[in-house]
């Protein structure tokens, strides 16, 4: 089976360039995500994976290149633009406000208001509704080791925080969900939950970009694996036809692929 060319990609990047002073984080990088797939992005530390997904999610404005969503060029100038377009991201840093509650964090930037006068004119938040929603989403993730939905995020463990961030993305993403190392701080059980959640999201028809250093996870879940090296896409491989050691060899430069899109 040849990978890629048969369908129209939902999200593409072409010739993306991002420089930080002398550092070239993205060096004419291409990217393709197809509908309904789980695309893993792997690469060494500093390869530019996070920068790539930031360029796709509006958090970084590329110096050059083009991003297309469903074939149409898009120019996201903030993460909010991408969110309005249905792209939801869990950043590597999680992007949460430590002093605010779980509920506040889940709804940051898209708060629910009370119905009627109090919501319309006083702009009062509908806390009960928001709390219920947040609790349900965390329950879905099996993250209810958290006792109090109103506790400050800084009082959560690293893994719980990551769980909240993943729950937030899964709850609101409608077109594309991007996860930058979503299981890095999680225990075995919690990692498993997140992997299940990823499969669950895909079964809703939403494609996922998964950045991970955990090869077993990548090979278990991904439909395709995008290997990132020195700021660009080195190749895309089919995990069914390659071993983990191949992937690692490409990643580290020990082995060079013959073509960008390898076939079976």
């Amino acid at each position: 089976m040849s990978i890629g060319q048969k369908r129209e990609p939902i999200l593409t990047g072409r010739n993306l360039v991002k420089r930080y002073g002398k550092v070239v984080a993205l060096d004419h990088c291409d990217f393709d995500l197809y509908p309904g797939e789980i695309l893993a992005v792997i690469g060494d530390n500093g390869a530019g994976k996070s920068t790539l997904i930031k360029a796709l999610s509006g958090a970084v404005i590329p110096d050059a290149g083009e991003v297309r969503l469903e074939g149409k060029p898009v120019h996201f100038t903030s993460p909010n633009d991408a969110r309005h377009a249905g792209i939801e991201t869990v950043y590597q840093t999680l992007a949460m406000s430590p002093a605010l509650s779980i509920t506040d964090n889940m709804f940051m930037g898209r708060e629910m208001r009370k119905p009627g006068f109090r919501g319309k004119w006083l702009r009062q938040l509908d806390r009960p509704a928001m709390e219920k929603f947040a609790r349900d989403k965390l329950n879905d993730l099996g993250l209810m080791t958290i006792q109090n939905i109103n506790q400050a995020v800084e009082t959560l463990s690293g893994g719980q925080r990551q769980g909240v961030a993943v729950a937030r993305a899964a709850a609101f993403g409608s077109r594309v969900i991007i996860l930058d190392e979503p299981t890095a701080a999680l225990g075995v059980k919690e990692s498993r939950r997140v992997l299940e959640l990823i499969l669950d999201v895909r079964s809703r028809g939403i494609p996922i970009i998964l950045i991970s250093h955990n090869m077993p996870h990548v090979f278990e879940l991904a439909d395709r694996v995008h290997v990132h090296r020195l700021g660009k896409r080195l190749c895309v491989i089919d995990p069914k036809n390659h071993s983990m050691s191949d992937a690692v060899a490409y990643m580290t430069g020990a082995k060079v692929p013959e073509t960008e899109f390898e076939t079976a």
């Binding site: 949460m96 430590p98 002093a99 964090n105 006083l122 702009r123 225990g187």
Partner: protein, 355 residues
Amino acid sequence: MPTDTDHYETSVRERRAEAVAEFADHKPSPLQRVQHALHVTPALVPLIVLLASIVVFGALLGSRFFSPFALTLILQQVQIVGIVAAAQSLVILTAGIDLSVGAIMVLSSVVMGQFTFRYGIPGPVAVACGLAVGTACGFLNGWLVARMKLPPFIVTLGTWQIFLATNYLYSANETIRAQDIEATAPILQFFGAKFSIGGAVFTVGVVFMITLILGLGWVLRHTAWGRHVYALGDDAEAAQLSGVDVKRTLISVYMLSGLICAFAGWALIGRIGSVSPTSGYDANIESITAVVIGGISLFGGRGSIMGSLFGALIVGVFSLGLRLLGADAQWTYFFIGVLIIAAVAVDQWIRKVSA
């Protein structure tokens, strides 16, 4: 399909997770519980200090201090600082600082006065113009901080001088006398209007200060805008990534701060009767003092605006109490200094234990 348990990495993680779980099982010590309470309700410390200082001065001075008249006198004395501290609190919650609050206040009051007396504009319109000038000053601060990405301390250090100089140049250093205002445009002195309930004396300015702080407290807690103010003060980058329009929110905070300072300028006319370009020169330091004693963190994102009111009142209680005791006025400054350092130490402690 590989299973997780095969991997050394994950087994390490598992052990780490267990260790965390064990740790969480420990019963919190009383000290940790206090810390937690303070963490959740940051205005608690200044409230306790306020009540304690009222009790101590009440015990020392008896009914001279512990009377409706004396206690409401404190409210009148702190009304200007209290209003300005509300503005300062908003800015400090965003991890900023506004050194120009006093200058905006005076400039706005001068605009209200000069527009009425120099151009013959009706009082209410002149007041509206003064409020607009204050808001515009705030916008300038906010624009420089949010769009030009300059540090708030430097921006407001600059605009402090600019607004103050504008104030002197524009007013030609001229004071408008209280009698003239009373005769021509009494609305300028509206905030000074008094009414009493029993022995307690209130002014419109005092009522405004309390309403303002309660209102802002509600808005900060119960609206999206309020949550965004906290979020961006806590971690601006995270707030931006999680969907807050950081620049717009910042500019709105500085504009609102400017508007509140203009209201303080109006209240200032009510308090001193006249319009004087030299009044209120130390409002910036006094407001920062109230905010810090009130337990709002200078690092942003933590604290409650009620705390600032308590902070302003603590300063008022010490000033009046020590004066009634016949102590040298320097003792007030001495104790305020101690309180500032204690407040910051408590803030650090709360952060450390919670981390």
